[in-house]
């Protein structure tokens, strides 16, 4: 069997570090998460800074879901039913998720879905 060459492949890169140029999009900020705080308060500082960007991601996911289910029922279920799933999650994760929802203003059900995205997408 002769495989066709990967049309997007390239020779191994070298001397790309330190990162710069067209494949480098930027650095990443660092935040401290204080585990001595109550779980519901641990993520407040981070959410204060990133809630707008997180809302954009969540809204995009909702838009995609609404494209496939235009009735809006799926998003309605997420917003109104999935939040109850939080009560079944182990401590301290349940309280952390509630805290993130409170400080970001994003419905708890949407925060829960964002956090169990991995389990949903492994098929």
């Amino acid at each position: 069997i002769v495989w066709a060459p990967d049309p997007y492949g390239e020779e191994c890169r070298s001397k790309t570090y330190p990162p710069s140029g067209p494949t480098f999009k930027g650095n990443v900020p660092t935040y401290v998460i204080n585990l001595d705080l109550p779980p519901s308060k641990r993520w407040d500082n981070l959410m204060h800074d990133k809630k707008t960007e997180l809302k954009t991601v969540v809204q995009n996911i909702k838009d995609i879901v609404n494209t496939f289910f235009p009735s809006g029922k799926v998003v309605d279920i997420v917003d109104n039913k999935i939040a109850h799933l939080t009560a079944t999650l182990p401590y301290p994760f349940n309280e952390e998720l509630q805290g993130i929802a409170n400080s970001s203003g994003i419905p708890l059900g949407e925060i829960v879905i964002f956090n169990i995205f991995y389990e949903i997408f492994t098929v």
Binding site: Y31, V57, I61
Partner: protein, 253 residues
Amino acid sequence: CTSIVAEDKTGKLYHARNLDFGLFLGWDVKNNSWTITRELKPIVVNLDFQRNNKTVFRSTNFAGYIGMVSGVKPDLFTLTMNERFSLDGGYIGIFEWFLGRRDGMWMGFLTRTVLENATSYQDAKDKLAKTRLLAPAYFILGGKNSGEGCVITRSRTAALDIWDLDTKKGTWYVLETNYDRWKPPLVLDNRRTPAMKCLNQTTQENVSLPTIYDVLSTKPVLNKLTVCTTLMEVSNGHTETYLRECPDPCSPW
């Protein structure tokens, strides 16, 4: 995703990964990119989890996500998680959870618990291999001593395979994309072969975080789904993360 644990000639261990996410979640024709991949970049953060003002572990996260996909516990171990697709997937685990069977762990919560509580490389390896999960996964674990590095292939209930570093037998790196190592990768998504080719060209004598960054910068290991690249060293819990872009021509995955 592509995760690598490599050991140099002195026994020093390096751990790095490309975090790829957003497949089929909307294609932005104008920017020629995956919509969610692009939107995720502004919420990538490095987190320093502290107790009593001391670092317990560090991670690279999406803001709003409380689980872990990349993290380092200083002077003990490094950990990344790659997605493993299976028909016996997470939706079955979620269904069971709703029906009241709750003895499995959500993937992100397990990695978070391991980073927070595991006391050694071996302890972390045991927990990752033996804990019942809601979804299959690949765990890529690195330690601080020579030979401490492995890929754990998990089904929801068991460890199907543990691939360990073994420099005496020539295995100076372990590499995982999103396919079982004993099977060929999907023909349309072969990042494993180019990554291995580049690591083999690098050689163990020259392996370092900068040369691993070179590997992770080579297309199609770097692709349109790549959100960021994280480089980790277990000593002192060193971690650095860079947002990535894949200029055209570039593989969509």
